[in-house]
Symmetry: C2
Subunit: 82 residues, 2 copies
């Protein structure tokens, strides 16, 4: 039982168009950044958790990622607990 930090990264699935990423790619090329193949934009969510064991935290965060933090139809997520 200790304090933990969960880091969740939510990204659009590979098959999903990412117009925001394309816009950022254009902006980067515009300021002279050459050789960019692709840009994808996602969300980063950091959750600080009090007094919970690691296993419970991972289970709760997985549930939350699937139900609230991402849209599983068009997004993937990855979870890291530290």
């Amino acid at each position: 039982m200790s304090n933990m930090k969960a880091k969740i990264i939510v990204t659009p699935k590979k098959a999903v168009l990412d117009p925001q990423g394309k816009t950022v790619q254009n902006a980067l090329e515009h300021i002279g950044f050459k050789g960019i193949k692709d840009v994808r934009i996602g969300k980063y969510i950091e959750v600080e958790i009090n007094d919970m064991d690691r296993e419970t935290a991972l289970r709760e965060i997985s549930k939350a990622s699937h139900s609230i933090l991402s849209n599983p139809v068009i997004e993937d997520y990855s979870i890291e607990i530290i």
Copy 2:
């Protein structure tokens, strides 16, 4: 010279209020997630780069993070090149 992936995480600075994070915290508590201390929401940007050496990539990405990908007044960023 090889293909690389840069992962940039942009988060609001600690001193900056994060109402989006607060909203997510409330939503998580609403579905029964107990013991959350804080939630911060940031952006995740993944840039695929062709044929560049690691040092140049890091320099270019740092420049881009500072000028385009983040607002250094209210946001911090971290860069990982893989």
